[in-house]
Symmetry: C2
């Protein structure tokens, strides 16, 4: 990447807009396309992008780098329809929260003179829309590059350079399979839990008695149902397996309670505490 290049953001939502901000902060020329004219207008007025449009083949033709910040299924369709307009040699990346049923589909149907190198910015907010975009959400976050056999060293280096430019905290590489297993546990299972906890009790007075633990566990229970149902179904088998593993652990804890196994219950708490300490931010 270099600052003579024009970077096109496809899909100017929270993440696309936050990438745009991060890139403009570093002096890059940033354009965008989105179906929503108001998002484009807002972003231009607020200097989030240099220019944009709801539908313009010219923007695609002029892009030196493409960041596709669309939902996975929409992205698959968009890539198929628009790759004919890509510059030869271009790199394209994404922001999708699942990889296995997405990357291979895209790469199998791609021109062989462009490269799609998938990646995942592990960051977000519980709101959506370019008006909430904020490049700071990436600065303490992890960035996962998910190369396949069809990717090159140059493609991986491009993704790495993008992440360094945006100032992600840590950049790691995983296969799409390992990524989806990890996401199934760390991200999707956590959302399934938060939603189920929120739905398990409909007492309207609970907020008068609540403490921080409940708020923390349900912060992500405010959930974008369009994006998250798509992600869940794309990673269905792995997620079901993670739900089963978690349910087994919780049943094990319940069993200790039912059987007055104080020592066993304490051991679960001790193990949990030890593991959690490893997750404390350095």
């Amino acid at each position: 990447m270099n600052q003579n290049q024009t970077i096109l953001i496809v899909g100017l939502g929270l993440i696309g807009g936050s990438y745009a901000k991060g890139l403009k902060e570093k002096g890059y020329a940033v354009t965008a396309i989105d179906v929503n004219q108001q998002s484009i207008d807002y972003a231009v007025e607020n200097h989030i992008i240099d220019s944009g449009a709801t539908n313009s083949i010219d923007f695609i033709r002029n892009a030196d780098v493409i960041i596709c910040a669309l939902y996975p299924t929409t992205m698959i369709h968009w890539m198929k329809e628009n790759q004919q307009f890509f510059k030869s040699g271009i790199f394209i990346t994404d922001v999708s929260g699942v990889k296995c049923n997405v990357v291979d589909v895209i790469q199998s149907n791609l021109r062989n003179d462009v490269e799609f190198i998938a990646s995942h910015p592990m960051a977000g907010k519980e709101v959506s829309g370019v008006q909430f975009s904020d490049s700071n959400i990436f600065k303490q976050a992890n960035f996962i590059i998910t190369p396949t056999e069809k990717n090159t060293e140059r493609g991986i280096a491009f993704a790495r350079e993008l992440a360094e430019t945006i100032q992600f905290n840590r950049i790691v590489t995983l296969s799409p399979q390992k990524h989806d297993e990890m996401i199934g546990y760390l991200s999707q299972l956590t959302h399934a839990i938060a939603v189920s906890l929120m739905n398990a009790n409909d007492n309207p007075h609970l907020k008068e008695y609540t403490g921080d633990s409940f708020r923390d566990l349900t912060r992500i229970a405010k959930i974008n149902e369009i994006m998250w149902s798509e992600l869940f179904f794309l990673n269905k088998d792995i997620l079901i397996s993670e739900i089963d593993s978690f349910q087994a652990e919780l049943s094990n804890l319940k069993y200790k309670l039912q059987n007055n196994d104080e020592k066993g219950l304490k051991q679960l708490f001790i193990q949990s505490t030890e593991r959690r300490k490893q997750f404390d931010k350095e």
Copy 2:
């Protein structure tokens, strides 16, 4: 309560120490007893209390108000052993996280010229010890008073006044039974979930890929096994029932996934989002 009174904190840990700080900020005389001399010394050196001791009947005799910040089982024992030294007419309250199997036991064995009015400060930290005490933890928190038939209006007024002095955000009253049901869901179930989530996967590399959602859900997975096993067993039946309800919701979500019920899954997300919005701090 008035500032001529001496308030005795029994058990100078995180909560006892934070109460002491909150009361001294308002000009009260505060003493403490604790089994740990170092805690007493630290608190005196740092002006958290005026004076204290590891074991002194005189401190008990001189107390005009007692805040018993011990773990429930220890408190039951302490009350039995030491009530003989209480001033006549004294109010005693606690900080215990469960009420049903605690309050009635204490009140059944209490001198009839003193009053035990139970309460619960819905606040804490994932660390323990007087060195972490901080009266600010109460300022955004809920305070629950749990009177029984044996409590008087004056007793309830005392507890309310204590909470106002410490500057809790909201003061509510619940029966011990309703308290324990509420705690079973909002606090104990959330801890059971966090611990089980943490224990469901032992991959040591996960922290390189994690995002905020996992950190939020497992913040309370760092858990004091002594206190929490006690609280769990004291509220065992209610907690098991809450675990069952939660597991039913999660199984329902899994069922939607397995059956490709996109509409049903979205509906769970929409319901969760609506309910969570009600919990946003005002």
